[in-house]
Subunit: 270 residues, 4 copies
Amino acid sequence: MTASGLRLRASAPHGVGAAAAVLAAGLIVAVVPVSSQSPATPSRQALIDDLVVANRILANEGVVDGYGHVSVRNPANPERYFLARAGAPALVTSTDIVEYDLDSNATTGSATGYSERFIHGEIYKARPDVKAVVHCHCLDVIAFAAAKVPLRPMYHMGYFISEGVPVFDIRESAGITDMLVSTPVLGRTLARVLGPRSAALMRGHGAVVVADSLHVVVAKAYYLNVNARLQSDAMQLRGSGVTYLDPEEAKKAVQTYERSWEFWKSRLPR
Amino acid sequence: MTASGLRLRASAPHGVGAAAAVLAAGLIVAVVPVSSQSPATPSRQALIDDLVVANRILANEGVVDGYGHVSVRNPANPERYFLARAGAPALVTSTDIVEYDLDSNATTGSATGYSERFIHGEIYKARPDVKAVVHCHCLDVIAFAAAKVPLRPMYHMGYFISEGVPVFDIRESAGITDMLVSTPVLGRTLARVLGPRSAALMRGHGAVVVADSLHVVVAKAYYLNVNARLQSDAMQLRGSGVTYLDPEEAKKAVQTYERSWEFWKSRLPR
Amino acid sequence: MTASGLRLRASAPHGVGAAAAVLAAGLIVAVVPVSSQSPATPSRQALIDDLVVANRILANEGVVDGYGHVSVRNPANPERYFLARAGAPALVTSTDIVEYDLDSNATTGSATGYSERFIHGEIYKARPDVKAVVHCHCLDVIAFAAAKVPLRPMYHMGYFISEGVPVFDIRESAGITDMLVSTPVLGRTLARVLGPRSAALMRGHGAVVVADSLHVVVAKAYYLNVNARLQSDAMQLRGSGVTYLDPEEAKKAVQTYERSWEFWKSRLPR
Amino acid sequence: MTASGLRLRASAPHGVGAAAAVLAAGLIVAVVPVSSQSPATPSRQALIDDLVVANRILANEGVVDGYGHVSVRNPANPERYFLARAGAPALVTSTDIVEYDLDSNATTGSATGYSERFIHGEIYKARPDVKAVVHCHCLDVIAFAAAKVPLRPMYHMGYFISEGVPVFDIRESAGITDMLVSTPVLGRTLARVLGPRSAALMRGHGAVVVADSLHVVVAKAYYLNVNARLQSDAMQLRGSGVTYLDPEEAKKAVQTYERSWEFWKSRLPR
């Protein structure tokens, strides 16, 4: 059995062979070379490959659509992070991945970056514990931000919601804008609202989600959205009488979500 | 039968290699007709090919089902527009595309036209700024028209809703009908209700959406529908206490939606 | 490439030519043999093939799941109708089709019939105008039957709902049962509740839908369900203040739904 | 490549021919262990193969996601049950299936088990009539547990809900936990709450469903969830005025759901 979403990448970075393999396979395949020339390379390339899978999972599971992005901090250099160049997450391949410093200046390549990359850089600056960041327009949370109804944890898969999910209203700090977190200052303000938590909603926009790994951040973004749907359903049935996870239960219910990752990866279109 | 989602342009940088690669990848190809030697044709053919893609995206993303249509104004002759002959959008190919004058008389071919093509012609007459029109039975807006609840912009992707989305009630201008905008007079009345805006709902029927490009009109139709769903969710949570985009925010939040188009195109069935 | 859900049986009347066409087209095709042995056969076989497509469309579009059935009256003999033997609609092939008389006794084959085939036979008896019948557990109407909220036409695609959609409560006529319309008497009672209309809900069960053609009955079953969802959405927004199609509008808005059929057929899994 | 939805039941019950057919069908194959020469093995292997299908159906139909599990009692030894090793249900193959005794100790292999396998073992102990168990985070029931709104049978497919669906609140018996039923004691408490019924909800977690066969338990888990959605819809329309199945109707409406199984099996990705 093998993974959809895998990238075939022989030795040369995206040479003719790789292209042919991709065409033949009809999908992008991530086969990590058995032993790469440089000892540091595999880990970097493996991380980039995983970031591509993360992009595709988020799109395939409906957490992002044509918009939204996901980044991961470079473990070999915590002052750097990886993020795709501007484009739809479903279409990201490893050649689209750019390395940024924490001021969100590209350190590799010259591709156009996401105008909201400052979300990532400023959170990595403010939160050394954060290793991965998702920004999404996840649909089910938008109503909660607009209605100013606090998200609460409906089940153990949404345990982190117990930390509270603040709402970042860009207007409170920056007045009238195009709603985009497209400057370092706005990124810092968002990071401040997020504080030590796992997620913040963005009024009239979407959400930002952080975690200590790429796999976990993808799952938190997914379950943040699912939890919103469940909470909406429960509130329709019983309004303010809904029972949420107890804060102490939530603390104990920490998830790795690793089975989710494997499941979602297996569902990627080939 | 021909291409979902593929635009093959002989002169474009893709070249023969791209065509071969696409063929290898298992996509279905829109073969450029022999007449493509003429200098004016490529652009016309490219637009027609894009219109085919627009039809298929709208069907694949659930904005239209067996019914609904999308047109684009001929940039080489603003007194003409392109629209498929009567048929389900998902099945449209480039040979189904007919050119109409603004009175909605076919200038090419003799295929049966959509009885509601006057929606397109009359809007193009009234709105020189409009380059593309979608008519859909997009499900999530129908409840809003029936409930006379005004649509409001829930997030930046629905920024244009801030212009207001009037409801065209065919009965107010024409009494008892079959609900179809199947005459020039009805088309003009709808255009008048639409006014300078991006969208109007049609009571007991669906919506019409306009934009200055084909890609943008597809996205506006899509996000009009998504926004309706989000607004319904938010109103369930908090009724009249929902916070919508500020009109000034909406003005600044103009979208090209180009990443949506690329994403949707990539999702077309092969 | 070949069919999901297709059972090719070498000995079946389709013959090699038909099988090849199916394989080549990658979907179920009503390929009428150019000249069949008997002059009556093509029309009969074509109808049976269309009935197979109807079964598959209903399953693929979620109108039926593992349960539910669709029949068509034999145009060559109005005292007969065609219905699959007991089985999941998605898996029906032409060899599964049985001919019944109007007392719902099989006139061909000896396969186990649906225990609820009397729905079909008794309606054909009571309604000479009816040429096709669907019984479904279509999910969105079940809440309406349980809540005793009358269905009302939300848009022109649901025009026939304007005739009224009565609710058949099996308990009122037969007391405590297993909820199934599994006798001629129950079938007659259901037919009486249906009266001259297009559809009746069945409390705690689903619905029955009738039409003067197979294509139209499939579409009416589909749009009955869609209309229920839209009505539920609209009532959530505005309760009793929702505007429905005017009865006179509904009379004029009769649909053939032929584009829906072509669209749904094109979406069948290959 | 051939049909999903194949009903392998030629002459030999799942013999070598069946295995070959499955291979041809592109399904993930339960490789028959070498020991299959033994006369008792085929039935064991057939059951394991069916358990693999059950895992995949539950995932494919959205009853489980990356989490959740399904087990079946060993008919040859009622003191044993089969359950996959820890992993996402969609990815389970026959080599992942482990045999457990009723204390939930593995009797074969050394793979890591689900930490919640005690749900299965303790229910098998307490309920000799139970032959199969599903644990799921089925989304639509979670709101009901949180809102403490009792599930009621909306239609005959949910007949078993008439027995009552108690809510297991882990906190009432064990105080603050990680929400998981990961000890024999917790399993026993859950079994006690379940009592003689078909299903129990688990507050802040999901549900457990039992039946006298693997096919039926899969269907009960599926329809438990569907019924919750229908009940939520009906209560939105009419609150406490909804008509549910009469308890006597429910007793008569017992389902085998065999057509559902065939349908779902036919929908599995190849």
